[in-house]
Amino acid sequence: MITFEDVVKVYPGGSTAVDHLSLELPTGRLTALVGPSGCGKTTSLRMINRMVTPTSGRILIDGEDVAERDEAALRRGIGYVIQHAGLFPHRTVLDNVATVPVLLGKTRREARAAALELLERVGLSADFAKRYPAQLSGGQQQRVGVARALAADPPIMLMDEPFSAVDPVVREQLHREFLRLQEDLGKTIALVTHDIDEAIKLGDRVAVFRTSGRLAQVGTPRELLAAPADDFVAEFVGRDRGLRGLSFDSAAGLPVRPVDGLLLDDAGRPVGWPGDDGPRDTGGTFTKDDSLRVVADLAIRSPVGIAVRVGPDGAADGLVSHHDLADYLAGRRS
């Protein structure tokens, strides 16, 4: 667990970057630090590995004050990922990933062998090993950055806007892969972002900072969307927070109507809704594992206002209309 105990950072000149921050980042969880620019989120992150020294207060890792640890040794035990990846341009991808293990005294050969495995883990083939960072796309560089941070298997990872510099499609893909990776690894992660959607999507917990370094609210994404502490948080999480809150509700409990009027193939899989010019696309299907947000989206996009549920075999097994969903949500509230 990483603990901020009443941490203050005032820069020479008097500007307060972090104002009496007390915060706990639970072990094995991803805590997203989110807020507008200049809110002290990056400064807070960088105090964990002592890149920034607090003016007062303490930061503890599992009860031990980081100020008492040897700087370099502390940092070698904390993975670090930044925007644009910050790779070493003069080293191959493989040697970039091998950096920290080599610093820790592994032979280059050992470190490279382990690095090669890690590359595959972050979705890069061995073909990339011998390339230089300049030969990679932004998304690929960011994967290498993640692999480099993971190379020494540190229990803690600090990530500063790691996905901000890539285009939305690649970001989406990196998010998915990253969540899968984190599910396996269970690192204690502090992730800084200015993007509340990213924070909500990736964070087990989200800490919202307001300008001049004060913490506005900490909670699970669901708590934040359902009960923002004040107007600032409400504004920051966005006006569509009601709709987005649905992404935390499973569709498993949602009643469905029997399949009727939908064109099916021989195996019972949906083909489309009948139309004058042949079947009209259903716009996708959902399963019991999806969220209510997916159902709402499908119902909105469907040509007939009805979302189609399918079973594990892909066969249609139920329908949900706008009204059904609205009734279900209304019933849940009362």
Partner: protein, 212 residues
């Protein structure tokens, strides 16, 4: 020219050898001195501008004046090659110290911070990250310093030591063009060869600069 070479092969060969070590020894000394001096100009930013200015002033001292002046300061004989070596070392430091500083300053601070955050200590970060990344700039400066030294050695002939420069003085004294031509051609070839060697070394040690 060929005939002159044939008749004076020994003289020319000796002059060429002298020229090589008179020019290259100062490059070596100068480089070794410039590395820490240039680093100080980056490590302590207040020193950077004084460093740049001092280098500029040193480089602007006329070489002949320095050759004549150094024996007074160093207590060496006027005809000692040490004077040439020291003078050219000063020029090399003047060129390279600034280049080393600029090279180190050209390193992306984000990458340096990333290195620090991964647990590099200062010295290893310098040798493992900052210097390698500064190499393209430093080696470009080394090319300039080397070629500049090879041409400056000739001036030493005016005080009696100067490698191929002695061919120039002899030609002038005898109103004889052949040794001058031989001296010019060999100087240029030598400079070209030295430059080529540095370029090849640069290609070998900075493969990443060509990776796009």
């Amino acid at each position: 020219m060929i005939e002159y070479l044939r008749n004076n092969a020994d003289t020319v060969w000796l002059a060429l050898q002298e020229h090589v070590w008179l020019a290259l020894l100062p490059v070596l000394f100068g480089f070794v001195i410039a590395l820490p001096v240039g680093y100080l100009g980056v490590r302590f930013p207040v020193l950077y501008h004084p460093l740049v200015n001092t280098c500029g002033v040193l480089y602007s001292i006329p070489s002949l004046a320095l050759f004549v002046f150094l024996p007074v300061v160093l207590g060496t004989k006027v005809l000692s090659p040490v004077n040439i070596v020291v003078a050219l070392t000063i020029y090399t430091v003047a060129l390279l110290a600034r280049t080393v500083a600029d090279g180190l300053r050209s390193v992306d601070p984000v990458v340096v911070q990333a290195a620090t955050a991964m647990g590099y200590r200062r010295v290893r970060r310098l040798t493992g990250v900052e210097l390698p990344m500064a190499l393209p700039v430093i080696l470009a400066g080394l090319r300039v310093a080397t070629v500049s030294n090879i041409s400056l050695v000739s001036v030493g002939a005016l005080i009696g030591i100067g490698g191929l420069g002695q061919l120039f003085t002899r030609g002038f004294q005898l109103f004889y063009i052949e040794p001058i031509l031989v001296g010019i051609v060999l100087s240029v070839l030598l400079a070209g060869l030295a430059d080529l060697i540095i370029v090849l070394v640069q290609r070998a040690v900075t493969p990443w600069t060509r990776a796009v």
